[in-house]
């Protein structure tokens, strides 16, 4: 129980402390320290849930079960490894004059603030607070996107702010509708937005209201997931902000929004008695998967390219949750982990590559493997992993997803395979010359800490060869919670 409160309090304290001393030289280390502490408490929290089952705090305010605790752990882990990368990276950005002292203070404070809002979104049991936290995550990151104060970054920040703000407002309308349905059957208004209470009464809720609510919720949170056609902000925000931000936006924030949608789907399915919510998710997911794969080909900015790859993967996961069987859900949960780890590793490598070549333009990044082999190899292996080649974890989860699709919707496998090969071609077409191409003059080695990348890729490899029993059992528990049946 204490671990739960500490997990939330630590990043919040970090945000306040770093707001005062975020510009000092120790700020990077301090940031890392807070992240490590958060990771330790979330480990403790995960152990509590693992041994004693779900936790519900008094007044039902926080709720931790197998589904959200694994995302909490993933969040604090990626937050920590990205902080390791962030410290020297941001020092370098400051030394070349891209960020000033005030910017560094904002950056470090909001890094912790962002982690706090994401953890709050995951841990809260109150669907209204879930909305507040997801909107808070937007507000925390919006000034970081425009941190470099270039015209492009300001445009990206404005788009991110307005599109996500308008989008997420739809989700609040959906939440209000759910509350409206709940107060009709529940005497205590204060409990009527608690997910655990709603879940018990899910079958009594009025189905027409819920369906209308779900449409608003998928549009609202879907904007945040980056589902096509609501994705326009995502490549801009991910490419113009500082790279550590791109890593956690792509790796973590998208997961949180998807988590919210799945939680609502769990409420709506029993009330409707059909998988209509799932079908909406499948349509959005498949469209995102295919469109993002095609758009990958036409990108000139390396970070933009990988953010389209994020849209593609989030589309696939949304599609899988939409199918809804145990196997598809298990695959989707696993894919959330492997995508987060791989994508943040890639963004870290890309950040270093951009510093080596002093540009983010794909046409100008060449011959990484000669200039600085560890970055070249990191980018190559990361891309192999994200494209879904064996023996990496993405292959395992995509294989599971495909098997599940063949079982329930065999015709859709053709479009999935098409999308996958298009994305594969798009990624390698750009990455191959960047890694092996002719090395231009003027490239300098940078101080790169590749440990986070190595650790992430090793975990992906491990998950690809053999998913450990503990993790499989854990994901299976979450699958049982979502679909009612396990796969193991």
């Amino acid at each position: 129980m204490n671990a739960l409160y500490l997990t939330l309090l630590l990043p919040l304290t970090g945000a306040v402390v770093l707001a005062f001393c975020g510009h000092k030289r120790i700020a990077g280390r301090l940031n890392l320290l807070f992240c490590i502490a958060t990771f330790i408490t979330s480990l403790r929290l995960a152990a509590d849930v693992f041994f004693h089952g779900s936790i519900l705090t008094p007044q039902n305010f926080f709720y931790v079960d197998a589904f959200n605790v694994y995302l909490v752990l993933l969040n604090s882990f990626v937050g920590m490894t990205t902080a390791i990368f962030s410290s020297p990276y941001m020092a370098h950005e400051q030394s070349i004059g891209k960020v000033k002292a005030g910017g560094m203070r904002l950056y470090h404070s909001m890094y912790q603030g962002f982690l706090f809002t994401m953890l709050l979104a995951l841990l809260t049991n109150n669907l209204g607070i879930l909305w507040v936290a997801v909107e808070g995550a937007t507000l925390a990151t919006v000034l970081l996107v425009s941190l470099y104060r270039t015209p492009k970054s300001i445009e990206a920040g404005w788009k991110y702010f307005l599109l996500c703000g308008v989008g997420i407002a739809q989700a609040l309308f959906g939440t209000t509708l759910i509350y409206f349905a709940a107060v009709q059957i529940m005497p205590d208004n204060n409990q009527a937005l608690m997910w655990s209470v709603l879940y018990e009464h899910a079958s009594e809720l009025e189905p027409t209201v819920l369906l209308l609510a779900f449409v608003f919720l998928i549009v609202g949170y879907g904007t945040k997931i980056g589902l096509v056609p609501l994705h326009n902000w995502l490549p801009d925000a991910h490419s113009e902000g500082p790279t550590p931000m791109s890593a956690i936006l792509s790796g973590l924030l998208l997961n949180i929004a998807l988590y919210a949608v799945v939680r609502f789907k769990m409420l709506i399915d029993p009330a409707l008695g059909s998988n209509i919510a799932g079908h909406i998710m499948m349509a959005f997911g498949l469209l995102s998967f295919l469109v993002a794969g095609l758009l990958l080909h036409r990108q000139r900015d390396i970070k933009r390219m990988f953010s389209y790859s994020s849209i593609e993967h989030m589309g696939l996961i949304t599609f899988a949750f939409g199918i809804g069987g145990p196997l598809a859900t298990f695959g989707a949960l696993l894919h959330m982990i492997v995508h987060s780890l791989t994508k943040s590793a890639i963004f870290i490598t890309v950040g270093h590559a951009a510093q080596v070549c002093q540009t983010q333009s794909i046409d100008k990044i060449r011959g990484l493997i000669k200039t600085q082999p560890e970055i070249g190899w990191g980018l190559l292996i990361g891309t192999i992993a994200i494209a879904g080649l064996p023996p990496f974890g993405v292959f395992t989860s995509e294989f599971l997803l495909f098997s599940a699709t063949i079982k329930s919707f065999p015709w859709l496998v053709i479009s999935l395979l098409f999308g996958l090969s298009v994305a594969f071609a798009g990624l390698f077409r750009h990455v191959q010359p960047m890694v092996f191409g002719e090395c231009p003059t003027g490239q300098v080695k940078v101080k790169a800490n590749m440990w986070p990348v190595a650790v992430h890729l090793c975990i992906i490899l491990w998950l690809g060869i053999a998913v450990p029993d503990v993790l499989a059992g854990w994901i299976d528990q979450a699958t049982i919670m979502i679909t009612g049946k396990g796969v193991l």
């Binding site: 425009s146 270039t150 300001i154 309308f173 209000t176 208004n189």
Partner: protein, 224 residues
């Protein structure tokens, strides 16, 4: 069902709902920035009145805090700050060219019809008052979106955004008699922070682009 069958409070709420919808139309038609901000403040005041009426008729006293927040934020703080900003950036006289005013009005009317159509199948809404309030709040949200997409000035887009927020608060207050306190506080906090961030962005955009026309924000493209 007849209007006079309703209780006095319900009649007042319906009238206020109609007035709020009307102010949304006024926002869409208004092309002068300063007047636009004043109409937005008026809409906030109507929301404040609705919240007060509901707080007293149904005895939901925690709504008084929510009403105070609305009064402070939507009627005073945000409009006054915007007015200062518009004066400081010296754009208060600027008249905005709207695409095709009558077309936008028709679109807006269609959106209102659509909102009524969307809430029609809900069985529990057989009560005239609730059906109207949900439909009206949905219409206000959609009209806010229309305002955002039909204008070029960043300031007007923010007014549209806040207008959507008004619609959402109206839904929460009028249809469900207020969300739990902690949620209302959280939403108000988000609105406050958003308002401040918008202010910061105005200056950043103005510094880098020399104008607040969002048409100029076209450097980033989907494909090159």
């Amino acid at each position: 069902m007849n209007f006079t069958v309703l209780t006095l409070a319900e009649q007042i709420i319906l009238t206020l709902a109609a007035l709020m919808l009307f102010t949304s139309f006024l926002l869409l038609a208004q092309t002068r920035l300063l007047t636009l901000i004043h109409i937005f403040a008026l809409q906030g005041a109507l929301l404040f009145a609705t919240t007060l009426v509901i707080a007293f008729t149904y005895g939901r006293h925690h709504l008084l805090i929510s009403a105070a927040l609305t009064l402070g934020l939507k009627v005073f703080f945000i409009p006054i700050q915007m007015q200062k900003l518009v004066t400081r950036l010296d754009i208060k006289r600027e008249v905005e060219v709207v695409g095709n005013p009558s077309l936008i009005m028709f679109g807006a009317a269609a959106l209102v019809l659509f909102s009524y159509y969307a809430v029609l199948p809900i069985r529990e809404l057989s009560m005239l008052a609730t059906r109207n309030t949900i439909a009206v709040s949905l219409a206000i949200v959609l009209l806010g979106m229309l305002l955002i997409i039909s204008r070029r000035k960043a300031v007007v887009q923010v007014v549209g955004f806040m207008c959507m927020e008004n619609g959402l608060m109206f839904a929460a207050v009028a249809a469900t008699q207020g969300m739990p306190m902690v949620v209302e506080m959280g939403v108000a906090l988000d609105v406050l922070v958003a308002a401040i961030l918008f202010g910061i962005f105005f200056f950043q955009i103005r510094t880098e682009f020399g104008t607040l026309d969002v048409d100029k924000l076209n450097l980033l493209k989907e494909v090159d």
